[in-house]
C-alpha cells in the first residue's frame, strides 16, 4: 500500500517537474512546482520524516513559492527570443542525462550492497522528538551557524533589493 502510494506520488511529482521545465509561462511553472513540492512532502511522510514534511510544506510550498510568485508578478511576463543559450540545449540534455545514468548506477549498486545488511529495526518511536533530540544536541553548533547564515541572507537581501541598489 505504502509502495503504491509512493509510486503514485513519484509519478505525479516527476510529471509536474518536467512541466516546470517545459512550460512557457513562468506562472504555470511555479504552480507545477508547488505540486512537485507537495508530492515530495508526501514521500517524506511515507519515509517517516513527518517533521521535514511539515517544514517542506511550510517553508518550500509556503514561503519560498510565495516569494517566487510575488517576483513573477512583479517582473511580469517576459517574451523570450532565441538566444545563444538555446544553442547548448542538446548538449545540455545529453550531459544531464549521462549524469542521471551515472547517479542511478551508483544508487542501484549501493542498494544491492545494502540488501545484504540487516536494516536496523525501527521501533515505534516518536520521529519528531528523536529528530529534534539529535538536532539540538549533536548538531547544535551547525544549527546556530545556520541561523547566522539566515541572518546574513536577510541583510544581503535587504541590501540588494533596496530601492537604490548597489551603484558602481
Amino acid at each position: 500500500m505504502i509502495t503504491f502510494l509512493s509510486f503514485i506520488f513519484t509519478l505525479v511529482g516527476l510529471t509536474t517537474a518536467i512541466l516546470v521545465v517545459t512550460s512557457k509561462v513562468p506562472m504555470n511553472a511555479a504552480l507545477f512546482l508547488v505540486v512537485t513540492l507537495f508530492t515530495v512532502a508526501a514521500n517524506y511522510v511515507l519515509l517517516g520524516a513527518e517533521f521535514l514534511a511539515a517544514v517542506q510544506v511550510i517553508v518550500y510550498a509556503g514561503a519560498i513559492m510565495v516569494l517566487i510568485i510575488f517576483v513573477i508578478q512583479l517582473v511580469g511576463f517576459q517574451p523570450s527570443k532565441d538566444g545563444s543559450v538555446q544553442k547548448q540545449t542538446p548538449i545540455a540534455i545529453v550531459a544531464a542525462g549521462l549524469l542521471f545514468v551515472q547517479i542511478a548506477f551508483y544508487t542501484v549498486r549501493s542498494l544491492t550492497q545494502l540488501n545484504g545488511i540487516q536494516k536496523p529495526v525501527q521501533a515505534a518511536v516518536d520521529h519528531t522528538a528523536s529528530f529534534s533530540q539529535t538536532l539540538f544536541t549533536k548538531y547544535l553548533l551547525p544549527f546556530e551557524t545556520a541561523s547566522i547564515l539566515l541572518l546574513v541572507a536577510i541583510v544581503g537581501t535587504v541590501l540588494l533589493a533596496q530601492h537604490k541598489g548597489i551603484r558602481e
Binding site: S84, V85, Q88, I91, A92, A95, A96, L98, L99, Q102, I103, Y106, S110, Q113, T137, K138, L140, L141, E168
Partner: protein, 664 residues
C-alpha cells in the same frame, strides 16, 4: 542566596543603564547603592551561615554552554577563598559606592557612572564566585571592560581615552596567557570546573603544571599590574578617584592574586613557576616603590604603591604562603582603598589639584580626612598594631623561612621605601606649611558626610582588620579559615609539624627578630621622611640635584613607557597603518574600479608607466593577441555555459570513479 550577590548589582546596572538617562538622572545612586548594599547583605548572610557550617558547596543555576563534550554551568562556589573575596568586594565596594555619591555629585554622567560601577561589581563577583574557569574568565573580562569604561569615563579628555585604551590593550596580552592556560587545562582534564581540575591536578606532569602555572601568572601579570605589564595601572589614574580606589586598588587588580591562590594545587606541582612568580613579585615591589619615591602626583604615588604592594602579594604566593598573600590582599583593600578615597577627598577640596607641591598643611582644613589618611599611612607603612603590619610582616617572615633570603632582603628594602614614600606623601599633603594657591585656599573645606563616613569605616578596618583575623602571626583565625581552600606543599608540612611544634608557645626568636626588622624598616622610613620633609624641607631639593641622574631616572619611571612606545607600539602602529593603506587601496580598487588609485599612481609615476610598463604590457599584449581569439570563445559570459561546463566536470569526475577503487 549566593546567586543574589552578583545578580543584584547586575539589576542595578541594567536599571541605571537603561533608564538612567531619561528617568533616574540624579537619583541614580539610590538604585546603585541600594543594589550594592543588598548584595553586601546577601554576602554577609552567606558568610555567616558558612561560618556556622564551614563546608564548601556549589550552587548550580543553569547550564550555560552545552556543546558536547564541553559543558559549562553557571554555578557558584562557596568556599573560604571565594567568601573572603566576596566579603571584601561587596564591603569595600559598598563603601565606595556611598563615597561616590559625594564625589561624583553634579557630574554629567552620574547615572552612567553608577551603571558602570554596578556592572563592575557584577563582573567582579562572578569572577570570585565562579566554580569554573570559563565563568571566572567571563568575570575577568567583565572587570577588564568595566575598568576600560571607567578609566575612560571622562572620555572627552584625550589622556583619559588613551589611558583606557592602554589598560585594555595591555590587559589583552595577559588574557592571552590566561586563555592558553585554559586550553591546556581543558586539554588535560576535559573539564573546566575547579573541583574536577584540582582533583586531577596531581596527575599533571611537572612540565605541564609549570606551563599552566606560568601562563596563568601571565594573565595575573596583566590584571594585577606586574612587571612587565604594569604600565597601564599608573595611567589608569585618569579615571575618577573613587574608581581608582575600587578597581585599581581594592578589588580588580587583586583578582590575579585570587586566581593564583585558587590554583594553588597546580602551583604546588610547579616549583619553577612559583620561583618565577616570587621573583617577579619581589622585583616589581622594589621597582615600583623606587618610582613612587619621587613622584609628585598624589595619585601616581598611590598607583605605584599599589603595584608595589601587589608585588608583595605575588611574592607571598610565590613562596607558597597563599594565606599571607590573601591576608595582605584583604588588609591592602582596606588601607589602599582608604588612601585613594582620602586623596580623592583632597583633590575634591582643592578643585582637581593633584600635584603635592601645591598642597601642604591641609590638616587644619580637613581634620577627618587627615586623621583617616594618617591611619592608612601608618597601616601601609607597617607600624604595629595596624592592619598592614600583620600581613606584610607575615609575608616577609614566610619568605625568609622558606629559604628565599635574597627575596626577603628585597622585600625588607621595599618596606623601608614604602614607609618613606608614604610618609613623604602624608607630610607633603597634610603637614608643614601650606603651598596651596591663594585663590583656592579659601575654598578649602572638609568633604561632605557621604565621603567622610566611608573614610571613617575604612580607617576602623585599617586599624583592626589586621590584628583581629591575623593574630598571632601564621596561626591566626584567617589561617585556619583559608587553609582548607589552599593546598600547598608548605601547608601540608605545617599540618604535619604545626600542631605539635607551634601549637602551644607563641613566637619563636626568629619570628621576633624578623618582626623587629620590619618594624625597624618602617620606623626608619618614617624618620627619614620626617627629617626630609618636615624638619629640613630644603633638603629634598638639594639631594635631588646632587643625585640628579638617579632622580631623573626615577622621576621618569625608568622610561619604561617610552621604551614600550618605541619598541612595541610604534612599529605596530606603522605596520597597522601600512595594512590599513593596503586595505583602503584594495577596497577602493574593487569599489571604484581602481580608477582613483590609478589616477594617483599615474601622477606619481606617469613617466615610468609610459615608457617602461606600457612598453612591456604592449609586448605582452601582442603575444596574447594571437591567443585570445581561441580562448575568448570560452568566456561567453553566459552563466548557463559555465553551469554546463561544471556539469560536464562533475560527469568526468564521476566517471573517473569507475576506475578508482572506492569504499563506502
Amino acid at each position: 542566596m549566593v546567586a543574589l550577590i552578583p545578580l543584584l548589582p547586575a539589576l542595578g546596572a541594567a536599571v541605571n543603564g537603561l533608564f538612567g538617562r531619561r528617568y533616574i538622572k540624579e537619583n541614580a545612586h539610590w538604585v546603585a547603592v541600594g543594589a550594592c548594599g543588598l548584595s553586601f547583605l546577601a554576602a554577609v548572610f552567606t558568610f555567616t551561615s558558612f561560618l556556622r557550617e564551614p563546608q564548601s558547596y556549589e550552587v548550580r543555576m543553569f547550564e550555560w554552554i552545552a556543546v558536547d563534550p564541553l559543558r559549562i554551568e553557571l554555578a557558584f562556589l562557596v568556599d573560604p577563598l571565594s567568601m573572603l573575596m566576596a566579603m571584601v568586594v561587596t564591603g569595600v565596594g559598598f563603601l565606595i559606592h556611598i563615597y561616590s555619591i559625594g564625589y561624583m555629585h553634579g557630574d554629567g554622567g552620574y547615572h552612567r557612572y553608577f551603571a558602570y560601577l554596578n556592572l563592575f561589581m557584577t563582573a567582579m563577583l562572578l569572577l570570585v564566585l565562579a566554580n569554573n574557569y570559563l565563568l571566572m574568565f567571563l568575570g575577568w573580562e567583565g572587570v577588564g571592560l568595566c575598568s576600560y569604561l571607567l578609566i575612560g569615563f571622562w572620555f572627552h579628555k584625550d589622556s583619559a581615552a588613551n589611558a583606557a585604551k592602554k589598560a585594555f590593550l595591555v590587559n589583552r596580552i595577559g588574557d592571552a596567557g590566561f586563555i592558553l592556560a585554559l586550553f591546556l587545562i581543558y586539554g588535560q582534564c576535559k573539564s573546566l570546573v575547579f573541583h574536577d581540575v584540582m582533583s586531577q591536578a596531581h596527575a599533571f606532569s611537572t612540565g605541564l603544571a609549570t606551563a599552566i602555572g606560568i601562563l596563568l601568572f601571565v594573565g595575573a601579570m596583566g590584571k594585577s599590574a606586574q612587571i612587565p605589564l604594569y604600565v597601564w595601572l599608573p595611567d589608569a589614574m585618569e579615571g575618577p578617584t573613587s574608581v581608582s580606589a575600587l578597581i585599581h586598588a581594592a578589588t580588580m587588580v587583586t583578582a590575579g592574586v585570587y586566581m593564583v591562590a585558587r590554583n594553588s594545587a597546580i602551583y604546588a606541582l610547579a616549583p619553577a613557576a612559583l620561583n618565577f612568580m616570587a621573583s617577579v613579585g619581589a622585583i616589581t615591589a622594589l621597582f615600583a616603590a623606587s618610582i613612587a619615591l619621587v613622584q609628585r602626583d598624589i595619585k601616581k604615588v598611590l598607583a605605584y604603591s599599589t603595584v608595589s604592594q601587589l608585588g608583595y602579594m605575588f611574592l607571598s604566593c610565590g613562596v607558597g604562603a597563599y594565606v599571607s598573600g590573601m591576608f595582605h590582599l584583604m588588609t591592602h583593600a582596606f588601607f589602599k582603598g582608604l588612601l585613594f578615597l582620602g586623596s580623592g577627598s583632597v583633590i575634591h577640596a582643592l578643585g582637581g589639584e593633584q600635584d603635592m607641591q601645591h598642597m601642604g598643611g591641609l590638616r587644619k582644613h580637613m581634620p577627618i580626612t587627615a586623621a583617616t589618611f594618617t591611619i592608612a599611612t601608618l597601616a601601609i607603612a607597617g607600624i604595629p598594631p595596624l592592619a598592614g603590619f600583620w600581613s606584610k610582616d607575615e609575608i616577609l617572615a614566610e619568605t625568609f623561612k622558606n629559604g628565599h633570603k635574597l627575596l626577603w632582603g628585597i622585600g625588607a628594602l621595599t618596606a623601608l621605601m614604602t614607609s618613606f614614600y608614604m610618609f613623604r606623601l602624608l607630610f607633603l599633603t597634610f603637614y608643614g606649611k601650606s603651598r596651596v594657591h591663594h585663590d583656592k585656599e579659601h575654598h578649602l573645606h572638609e568633604s561632605p558626610r557621604t565621603i567622610t563616613i566611608p573614610l571613617s569605616i575604612l580607617a576602623f578596618l585599617s586599624i583592626f582588620g589586621g590584628v583581629l583575623p591575623g593574630f598571632p602571626p601564621e596561626r591566626g583565625w584567617i589561617h585556619g579559615f583559608l587553609s582548607p581552600a589552599i593546598s600547598s606543599v608548605h601547608h601540608a608540612k605545617e599540618i604535619l609539624h604545626g600542631a605539635a611544634e607551634h601549637g602551644a608557645h607563641a613566637l619563636s626568636l626568629l619570628d621576633l627578630t624578623l618582626m623587629a626588622v620590619s618594624i625597624g624598616a618602617a620606623l626608619m622610613g618614617l624618620a627619614a621622611a620626617w627629617y626630609f620633609y618636615l624638619i629640613r624641607p630644603a633638603l629634598p631639593g638639594q639631594w635631588a640635584s646632587r643625585l640628579k641622574s638617579i632622580h631623573t631616572l626615577l622621576f621618569n619611571k625608568y622610561w619604561v613607557d617610552e621604551i614600550y612606545l618605541s619598541v612595541f607600539v610604534r612599529p605596530l602602529l606603522k605596520l597597522c597603518n601600512r595594512l590599513w593603506d593596503f586595505d583602503l587601496q584594495g577596497i577602493d580598487g574593487i569599489v571604484n574600479g581602481a580608477s582613483r588609485v590609478a589616477v594617483k599612481s599615474a601622477e606619481e609615476s606617469g613617466r615610468f608607466d609610459l615608457k617602461f610598463i606600457d612598453g612591456v604590457i604592449n609586448d605582452i599584449g601582442k603575444l596574447f593577441d594571437k591567443w585570445h581569439d581561441i580562448l575568448r570563445r570560452w568566456q561567453t559570459g553566459f552563466v548557463q555555459n559555465y553551469a554546463l561546463v561544471m556539469v560536464i566536470g562533475v560527469l568526468v569526475l564521476a566517471t573517473s570513479m569507475f576506475f578508482i577503487p572506492y569504499h563506502f
